[in-house]
């Protein structure tokens, strides 16, 4: 039973000028298998730091992360990551990008082709499998990134603003794809986003973080992701409770931003 436990995580960055920034303070979370959690917050609230610690790229100042009962000490194939952009390998074609993980594990070619063929079908890029990745549009490139991550069969998928660099129309399409992949694969997903709408649509659970020090401000359990699996996302946005929820969270973040501004003005 894969389960992600984040226990009392704190992260302090010491700056060269002697001061320090408390990026995270006592963050605790527990994710069950197959949960889809979105993380939202104003800039500087430590959400990317949190993701980097879960991915194993950073070691926390204190606290720990456990996956399936073992301690997370560094990056590993059990925790896949999807980046905003620039993480595809331009020197490989689409299929080689997708089967990179299995290839590194030494999986035989026939098996790899089966995996990549299936995933390219799922993300709708079968016709592009021999193309160079830089020939694809931004949306297609993110589909490749999703497929590459899934090919490795991770227990947890970490998404760092995966749709942040896309235009609004492509973004909406991709949100549908993320929901579809989540439902079909049953993976545990943590998704970081700047967009309140996206956080509502793509989160069974939604964490709103507050800055300085970075901490969990509010947590919600939302029905919209489940609704979105079988419905048009535009209908979900019109469905009961969505608009109110969006307004509530937007004003919450506005208040945080104003508070930060006020604090900087006082300090100044």
């Amino acid at each position: 039973m894969p389960e992600l436990d984040i226990v009392d995580l704190s992260m302090r960055f010491d700056l060269p000028n002697g001061s320090s920034v408390q990026a995270l303070q006592d963050v605790s979370l527990n994710l069950k298998e197959g949960e889809l959690m979105s993380v939202l917050g104003p800039s500087g609230c430590g959400k990317t730091t949190l993701l980097n610690i879960v991915a194993g790229f950073l070691a926390p100042t204190s606290g720990k992360i456990e996956l399936n009962g073992h301690l997370v000490k560094g990056p590993d194939a059990e925790r896949g990551m999807v980046f905003q952009k620039g993480a595809l390998f331009e020197w490989m074609n689409v299929r080689e990008n997708v089967d990179f993980g299995p290839r590194m594990k030494g999986m035989p070619k026939a098996e790899r082709d089966q995996i990549s063929g299936h995933l390219l079908d799922v993300v709708g890029l079968q016709d592009f499998k021999d193309k160079a990745v830089y020939e694809l549009s931004g949306g297609m490139q993110q589909r490749v990134a999703l497929a590459r991550c899934l090919a490795n069969e991770p227990d947890v998928i970490l998404m760092d603003e995966p749709l942040g660099a896309l235009d609004a129309l492509t973004r909406e399409k991709m949100q549908g794809l993320v929901l579809k992949l989540w439902k079909e694969t049953g993976k545990t997903i943590i998704l970081i986003t700047h967009s309140v709408e996206e956080a509502l649509l793509l989160g069974e659970r939604l964490i709103v973080m507050a800055p300085r020090p970075g901490r969990i401000h509010r947590e919600y359990n939302l029905p919209f992701a489940e609704r979105g699996v079988n419905a048009d996302l535009r209908d979900v946005k019109k469905s009961e409770g969505f608009a109110e929820m969006r307004d509530e969270i937007l004003s919450m973040i506005w208040e945080m931003e104003e508070e930060i501004m006020g604090r900087t003005e006082q300090a100044g």
């Binding site: 560094g74 990056p75 590993d76 620039g86 993480a87 020197w91 990179f100 590194m104 160079a132 830089y134």
Partner: protein, 421 residues
Amino acid sequence: MIVLLFYIGLFGGAFFIVYTLRRGLHARKDFTSLKTVTFGDESAVRADRAASIISVLVIFVIWAAFTGSKLFPIHVPGPFVGDTQFTYTLENADGSTDEATVFVRVPAFGEEAEKFEVEPGSGFAKDDAFAAPAGRSSTILFDKNDEAKRKDGAKIIAINGMPIGPDIKVDTGDGAVRLTGKGAISFTPKQGLQMNPIWLPAPETVVARFFEIASEGYQNFSLWEHLGWSLLRVVAGFVAGALVGIPLGYAMGLSGWFRGWFDPIVEFMRPVPPLALIPLVIIWFGIWETGKIVLLFLAALWIMTIAARAGVSGVNISKIHAAYSLGASKWQIMRYVIMPNSLPEIFTGARVAMGVCWGTVVAAELVAAQKGAGMMIIAASKFQLTDIVIMGIVMIGIIGYGIDILMRKAESWLVPWKGQS
């Protein structure tokens, strides 16, 4: 100076002629022609192919016109060639005068002036025959056969009936006559504007020399051996430099100890021009092949090191993180992420390094070599064989350009993703 004026004139002339013709013939119909702002819009400036072609033609036209080439009908005035004559009036010590004629024969550039005889004629001043080289002054000792000598007080008072003195020059039409300090005649045939072949031979001479050397060789080696040896040295030095420089650059990009250790060395050696190392390399390794290859190795080494280091440093951290979270080991990340990611930078470095190596090898061969492109032109220059020098320079240019084209082709074939991401 005159050549420069000609060149500017042809530049302007070609510009106006081409633009007037174009305006009459057809207007541009592409997107750029619809732009109202083109001055300062870099994308609206395209190299004009007609200008490029005319530019190359103009160089050959000027070359041909100023060297009296037989391939081109229009020439600037050449030096006087052929037979001419002038009379001088000699005044004897007792005041009596006599006239005599000097027959001058001027051969074409590069031909030997052959001696000839004329009848001396009557009077105490006798006619002279003189073979003068083209384009430069020569002294005529007119009184060798005269009955009145300069040491007896005889002196020239006029040329062609025009009075002449120490400071007065007389133009005979085909040349200029002065008196030397000792009273002898100094005759300069008209020089014209054409170049002496010793300074600049005609294009066909250079081409002929190319075929001659291509079939017969020069200084014990065929033309292809000369050029091939230069190329071989460049390739050997470059390959050695790349084999050491690329791993060194990788190590500097990946390890703080390596970077700290080699940074001062690389940063110090990088701005030292390879040519400045020639004396030291000769002292240490001698003037033969080892010395040259070591020099080229040093020329390529720092460039390749810095290129490889930049290639490693330039890798997007997202790619490394992605590879780690896809389960790649350090070695796999090196092999499948860092190395391919650094290839564009390494290719850029390789192009620069090949260019520098090619320049350095020619310079090194100028200093000392038995064979090679640089040796060929320096040896030819010692014998004033300007045609070989020019031919050598052209061949060096063509090969250098060829190397760069090949490198660019290899680049677009091996790293098609360069500049994309």
